[in-house]
């Protein structure tokens, strides 16, 4: 036995949906193991299974010499076995001091129930020397930048819990360049005792830090290879796979109308949306596409990005309310949190923004007036069950999304701003939603959308704007040579073909 953790055909299903279908991975001491793949490839779910956060649906998980039994595996057991997960989001313990956070759960930092000062000081000095964080032990966690919280979580796992298997789930995404490089160096230096897993979207980072890399695609670990034996372009190809485009669904280029919405950063024009076209935004998390779509919806104006209305003398979109009033309809990414109203029916959810406007006298909730608005949409969008009075919570994710699309249509906007409209939508429903976007929505309006699946953008958009590290790297038009799944993926990785 020369591995610390090993999985054999590990599987995880959420309801009917498989998240990981077959994962084989072997973590050895003294190695930094990269795990790479697109969003939804199953990387995080695999890490959650190894660290006891979720339990596998099948396959074998071996820790040391023993096979793990599902019902005995939880985060606590994993921690006792020396496995630590540093998740993407640092644990939320806002009002603990740095010291209290670090020693949470550490029995040796107490003597007879009171604080063991000398032990604590010694350990704090050790972490301080290793990470050089320059924070005070009495600082509250909430007052520290996310990246410092991440580094503290890392320090806690490595130096206090003495974890031997440390799973870093995309923590480099929230780190600044300096910290990221320091952390990656630290990983390399931490010696032969430990095994690290580095999940990352950045191919270059994996290539330079890891000894070995496992590529995950569609819930399977498709390839494990020494980084010395592959290249960035080779990995990119493995990640995307050999996807053959369904030529029938490729749409022809259309004649776009007048400019409806323009996104600018400072004085620079970034991109615009025209009538009768679908514009896609591509890029990794943190690449800037999220900021761009939120700017388009009049939300937080981060990175100095702003939306303007060319039809109204280039007026600045001041707020999300202003955006809605100016004919911009927004579908947020986190549908359950920011869009659907749980506890209300399909009809109520659909007409919520326009109900007051349509009833006479205004402001009354007139079922007889609202029903005819909703019925044709339920029919054309194939909402199932086709009952306006069904509770929204009784619908599947895909059908909830159809209701949200219906809501936007009732607003009769000039521009649809759709943040990942296929997120949390079952595979069977995705084409219908995408067809609706390209068909009915883009017929009289402009559409701006993002998707984590490049193939959806390539199939349904007229133009794709690719972001990389906060900048637009390229705007690709239908018919351009880069207008393909691997072309877009390579651009969003900053990799030259």
């Amino acid at each position: 036995m020369n591995y610390l953790v090993k999985t054999e055909g590990l599987r995880k299903q959420f309801g009917q949906v498989p998240a990981v279908e077959r994962a084989d991975i072997e973590l050895r001491a003294g190695r930094v193991h990269g795990v790479i793949g697109k969003n939804g490839a199953g990387k995080s779910v695999l890490m959650n299974m190894i660290s006891g956060v979720t339990s596998p649906s099948g396959g074998r998980l071996l820790v040391g010499a023993s096979t793990i039994e599902n019902d005995k595996w939880d985060p606590r057991a994993a921690q006792d076995a020396g496995i630590a997960l540093i998740p993407q989001e640092p644990p939320r313990l806002p009002f603990l001091t740095v010291e209290d956070y670090l020693f949470l759960g550490d029995r040796s930092s107490y003597r007879l129930g009171t604080i063991n000062g000398s032990y604590r000081s010694r350990k704090l000095r050790e972490i301080d020397e290793a990470l050089g964080l320059r924070v005070h032990r009495n600082d509250q966690m909430v007052s520290l930048p996310i990246e410092v919280q991440q580094m503290l979580a890392f320090g806690k796992a490595v130096y206090l819990e003495q974890a031997r298997v440390i799973l870093l789930d995309e923590i480099t995404a929230s780190l600044s360049k300096v910290r990221r490089e320091a952390l990656l160096r630290e990983l390399r230096d931490l010696g032969n005792e430990r095994a690290f897993v580095l999940i990352s979207h950045r191919i270059s980072e994996v290539m330079s830090t890891c000894d070995v890399v496992t590529v995950m695609r569609d819930g399977e670990s498709v390839k494990t290879i020494e980084t010395a034996e592959t290249s960035e372009a080779g990995l990119a190809q493995e990640i995307v796979g050999s996807q053959v485009l369904d030529t029938e669904s490729v749409h022809s280029e259309r004649q776009a109308g007048e400019e409806l919405l323009a996104i600018r950063s400072a004085e620079k024009s970034l991109f615009s949306v025209r009538r009768s076209e679908v514009v896609g935004l591509a890029g990794l998390d943190g690449s800037g596409k999220e900021e761009a779509i939120e700017a388009a919806a009049g939300l937080k104006r981060r990175n100095g990005m702003n939306a303007f209305l060319p039809g109204k003398g280039n007026a600045l979109v001041r707020s999300s309310r202003h955006a809605a009033a100016s004919g911009v309809a927004y579908l947020p990414k986190k549908r359950e949190e920011f869009a659907t109203v749980q506890g209300m029916t399909v009809l109520e959810n659909m007409v919520l923004p326009v109900a007051g406007r349509h009833s006479r006298p205004r402001g009354l909730w007139m079922h007889s007036v609202l029903r005819p608005l909703v019925d044709p949409l339920i029919e054309s969008l194939h909402v199932h069950p086709a009952r306006p009075d069904a509770q929204i919570t009784s619908l599947s994710g895909g059908n909830r999304q159809k209701v949200m699309i219906g809501r936007l249509r009732l607003m009769e906007p000039n521009v649809y701003v759709l943040s990942e409209p296929t997120r949390g939508v079952d595979i069977g429903t995705k084409p219908l939603i995408l067809e609706t976007i390209r068909g009915e929505l883009a017929e009289k309006s402009g559409v701006l959308m993002t998707s984590e699946a490049e193939e959806e953008l390539v199939d349904y958009c007229d133009r794709i704007v690719v972001f990389y590290q906060g900048e637009i790297v390229k705007e690709v038009h239908r018919g351009d040579p880069d207008f393909s799944v691997d072309g877009i993926y390579r651009l969003s990785q900053g990799v030259e073909a």
Binding site: Q79, G105, Y110, S121, H136, R137, D139
Partner: protein
């Protein structure tokens, strides 16, 4: 991570200027002390307020409220709440006094004190266990307990009891020299609580629990045990408050403490304790208890009628809520 206090300037966050840092810290973490100062300044215009004797009276009057507020503080720190404290306050001494005066002839009054505290702890144990194992919101459990215990007390002593054994009232009634024993007791339990929060596993663990229950569980902390623990502590403290109050009034009255829980919540909130759990300082709670007791004292000195005093407490609660939201936004502004 610097390991000594004096290297504060090593910190990567926060302003460099010593004075800026000081007033920001006061405004976001210790807002209660400026309020205490304002109260004293206002009080200085009232004859008889700024005297040693009156100060001791304020402390004496604060004793019972302080006990309850401290109890609620521990519960709030875990992100839970306890409405029943005002009923435990009277229920615990009622049982003990009944034991001594009518149920058992010649019952030792010292044992009576132990019984009162034990009753308080038992009430807490019951609430904590129910909230853990029946998985019911503590609001509902303690609401039920609030009504049940008060009803029991009214049933048991509809007329009240006016011949309470002297040993039982000693804690609330006696002065050593000029200093009331109750005020020493108050300072003593706050000092203990301060040390518990700062230097013990229990204090650290309940703070973590209030911040993030799941993360605390994963860290291997026995959360159920802690929840029962804080309710027991709260029950004990409420019983202690009850003993002090009974001693001060030298009687047990069925309506004692009725409606007091709202003032207790006002004090905890004014002291900077978050109702959502995980945040609050013992020093802040102490300051808030002083403020409320001081204002009561001022109103009595000036001669404001009881009904208007109620209005005043309502206003204090509103002020406390307002201040805590101001504190939150200041904290957000200065930490980014």
């Amino acid at each position: 991570m610097t390991t000594t206090q004096d290297k504060r300037e090593m910190s990567a966050v926060g302003p460099k200027n010593r004075w800026t840092r000081f007033y920001r810290e006061v405004l976001t973490e210790h807002l209660i002390w400026p309020i205490v100062i304002v109260m004293i300044l206002i009080g200085s215009s009232v004859p008889g307020f700024l005297t040693t004797g009156n100060f001791l009276n304020v402390l004496w009057g604060a004793a019972s409220l302080g006990c309850m507020t401290l109890g609620l503080y521990f519960v709030l720190m875990t992100g839970r709440l306890d409405l029943s404290l005002e009923s435990t306050l009277i229920f615990a001494p009622t049982i003990a006094v009944l034991l001594m005066t009518s149920w058992v002839v010649g019952f030792n009054p010292i044992l009576g004190l132990v019984v009162a505290l034990a009753v308080g702890a038992l009430v807490g144990l019951l609430i904590g266990s129910l909230s853990n194992y029946a998985n019911v919101n503590p609001f509902l459990i303690t609401l039920g307990m609030l009504l049940t215990l008060r009803g029991l007390v009214v049933f048991l002593i509809p007329e009240g009891i006016y011949d309470v054994p002297e040993a039982f009232t000693w804690l609330g009634r006696t002065r050593i020299g000029d200093v009331p024993v109750a005020s020493i007791a108050l300072l003593f339990i706050f000092a203990i609580a301060y040390l518990v929060m700062k230097y013990t596993y229990f204090g650290k663990a309940i703070t973590a629990l209030g911040n993030n229950e799941q993360a605390t569980r994963v860290a291997g902390v026995n959360v159920n045990f802690l929840v029962v623990g804080v309710f027991i502590v709260a029950g004990l403290l409420a019983a202690l408050g009850g003993i002090i109050e009974v001693g001060r009034l030298n009687s047990v009255d069925a309506s004692m403490g009725e409606g007091r829980i709202l003032v207790v919540f006002a004090a905890a909130t004014l002291g900077g304790t978050a109702l959502t759990g995980g945040r609050g300082r013992i020093t802040g709670v102490f300051g808030a208890v002083l403020v409320i007791s001081g204002i009561t004292n001022l109103m009595n000195l000036v001669g404001i009628p009881t009904a208007l005093q109620q209005v005043m407490f309502g206003a204090i609660l509103l002020l406390a809520i307002l201040l805590s939201s101001v504190q939150d936004s200041l904290r957000k502004r200065w930490s980014s």
